[in-house]
Symmetry: C3
């Protein structure tokens, strides 16, 4: 179906993100079209912002329409199956971890092709991987995962780590091998965050430091949003 | 006042969307400037995202300033009149239906000029028509209409249907006539959704399928937002 | 450290906005990475939207990486210090007032270089100054300051006034002097809004005009968000 393994990877990543976008409608009054909108923005949002900011040639899904159609179909199928299948949430998180690993390094490669500085290569890797999910969270009014809400522990941080490996390893390791290595770093650190409960320190200001209520009050926020 | 009927149509669509943007401030603590911001982003937001992604020449309101000034004036007038006039909400929805009909087909035409594929032509028609309202809903923290919230039943779906007519009819019908026909399809299906209570199926997952509370709990969400 | 006073000003503005972005995490479950994301989007968001829409050359932080790195460092330092220092909120508002003054006029200058019309010069000044904070407010689910929420009284309006001075004064006053004068107008009007409690009229529709509950109900909204 695809000429290269990378394309197959992009296809998988697109499907996975579209599914996470569609499932974000869970428990909300969102209709079938809204679900497909969420599937598309989640799947292509990150790459779109990357291509808009780099502004080096047209946006990726303008040239190859299969990104959009794939996301639409994945969203539609998810909409239909979701009412019959119970899916293990953690399985989805594992797929999502694979998705951000792929998209982050694809973003890093595109940034390198545009001759961006290492800092921006890392930043574009992160944007490509997480911006779609960010738009999804804003549209569905959830605490954005990349800010550490929901299951977002270390979410974007993993992509930063992997992109750093990709940038620092350049010249020392074979590029193809380096790409896979960087993806593996993202995938494994993200799994460690999901299953090992790795955590990043949360923002605490002098005023709230002693309020132990804080931690208790905020989680309830998720539920009523 | 305008050289072409299309311009007159764009003018009307801009005014209508600016009004819906301004009225989104109803019942919220939003000041006169905020109302004008909402008027402008609602009126030009969709076309801006379309032009940014197509990236085929400058954004429409950079060349012709009347789009922005029209939206500003419409927003200001709405701000002033809103405290004296009681408007029938359904009248506004009818104007809005006319607005999305116009903007969708204008978007489809611009996408065709950029030689985009049929799928993208339909997508750009939809983005042009509904993205401004989406930004408005995000800023005012409402459930986005295009996800099926508020009065958004079939909202974007109608623009998709009309854009499909526009794409499929190409070559068979005179372009001008086809444009009006496609706009009519959007306008009528949208009216059917508003007055005929046409509905799209809502997202239901296996976990929530039996929870009849669900439907009851969520609507209350709208009010406290 | 910098070759020009303007660069020093941009540096200060970037730091200030990054701090306001980081402090937006106060009382929320946002981790250290999320705080740095908020710092960056708040600091460079406005200029990014300006450069994307003008589309006249690359986005400013693509060429000079120090904008991003400065925002990252400022966000990190804020994250660390915030739990030990109690800062006077009004001091932050004063810094922020300085920030929007600088960014607004920088935006106006870039818009003039792109030969935009006076209306668009004023609009780009406003976007440059406030769009970053708008994204920050959307991500942290606060009422956007530019709509008049939080401490946002006259927030964007001041930048409009200053930009108008900048546009109208062109040709009559020395450009450098005019820039400083326009910045001063923004800074002073904003201070007047903060300390003098200057207010803009809020949106009132015929339906709500007599509901005195309205004012009472909405403020509570801020607290539980």
């Amino acid at each position: 179906m695809f000429s290269q393994p990378l394309l197959a990877a992009e296809f998988l990543g697109t499907v996975v993100f579209a599914i996470t976008g569609a499932l974000a409608a869970t428990g909300k009054r969102i209709d079938i079209f809204g679900v497909m909108v969420l599937a598309v923005v989640t799947a292509v949002g990150g790459g779109t912002i990357r291509d808009l900011t780099i502004n080096n040639g047209p946006i990726f899904w303008l040239e190859e329409t299969w990104y959009i159609s794939t996301a639409l179909i994945a969203g539609l199928v998810t909409f239909i199956l979701a009412r019959y299948l119970r899916y293990p949430r953690r399985l989805l998180l594992i797929f999502d971890a694979a998705g951000i690993s792929l998209f982050a390094i694809i973003g890093a490669q595109k940034a390198q092709m545009a001759d961006l500085s290492p800092l921006l290569v890392v930043m574009m890797a992160c944007i490509t991987a997480v911006a779609g999910g960010l738009i999804r969270d804003v549209l569905t009014n959830e605490d954005p995962m990349i800010l550490g809400g929901g299951d977002g522990e270390l979410y974007a941080t993993c992509t930063i780590l992997g992109a750093m490996v990709f940038v620092l390893g350049e010249g020392y390791i074979d590029p193809i091998l380096l790409s896979y290595l960087a993806m593996l770093v993202i995938f494994l650190t993200r799994l460690a965050a999901i299953f090992g409960n790795l955590r990043l320190p949360k923002f605490i200001d002098a005023g709230h430091r002693l309020e132990s209520h804080e931690e208790a009050r905020n989680p309830s926020k998720d539920s009523d949003q």
